[in-house]
Symmetry: C2
DNA sequence: CGTAACTCATTACCCTCGCTAACTATTCCC
DNA sequence: GGGAATAGTTAGCGAGGGTAATGAGTTACG
């Protein structure tokens, strides 16, 4: 179960970010997959709706996203990245890559390729 | 950052266990690496001493391990798996493997090999 | 057409598990 | 012998997850 330990390690590494993993992950999802409703976000991140609601609320306060109630179905709320949110995603990706790329540089090209392949496979597994 | 999502997925999958990841991880460490002191366990799991202390306390209450103060250095405490703890490790490993092996069976042998290699590399990275 | 059932978001509250700070007991060393 | 260092522990905080309950809006149907 070294995966958990690596996750903890990664988490520790980006420490002086203002955003937690879950928070950033939401911004990233909005960035790569466009606007979502609350529940679709919750489902995508495999988290309960109330949890996602809190995360979204936090990100809204920071001005990274906006909630707009749908005009057709007023129960629904459309969550969209603000320009500031988009900037943050780009900046954070860059920052986070720093440690990883540093760590990856210490590996052989073969190892790097292995990691990349495995990442793709894991992605598919997680989305199953 | 699909790694976090996979970790969450794995976590969800073993849900009706009585042990959390961290708790099980401690038992597994004792199982594979033998008795530890509190601080060595904390360091191995990359967790603070108080956190590890709580986890160990919990596992002690369940009768999975014992604390014995060292006779030479009475500050130190030796933490050892009980037979019940050993059984639990074996049983839990078996149970946890179920979902993973199921998921892995859906992959091609090449993919499985990739995952295995990557796991080894990640292990090394996490322990750096 | 009106009401019952359902759906989406939200609020209230709790639990787990991480942390730091502070304390105790023991050992080290001068 | 007494101060510094070390191992474990206790106390208390915060982040982030969960479930239950509520409110508002929509849909189904008698």
């Amino acid at each position: 179960m070294g995966t958990f330990r690596l996750a903890r390690r990664l988490r520790a590494e980006k420490s002086d970010d203002d955003l937690s993993d879950g928070q950033f992950s939401v911004l990233a999802a909005l960035f790569t997959h466009g606007p979502h409703t609350l529940s679709s976000l919750a489902e995508r991140e495999r988290v309960s709706a109330p949890s996602m609601n809190r995360t979204v609320g936090f990100l809204e306060e920071l001005g990274y996203l906006t909630r707009v109630t749908d005009s057709e179905d007023k129960r629904r709320v459309t969550i969209t990245l603000t320009p500031s949110g988009t900037d943050t995603v780009k900046a954070t990706v860059k920052k986070r890559d720093a440690w990883l790329t540093h760590a990856l540089k210490a590996l052989s090209p073969e190892d790097r390729a292995t990691i990349a392949d495995a990442a793709a496979i894991m992605q598919r597994m997680a989305e199953r």
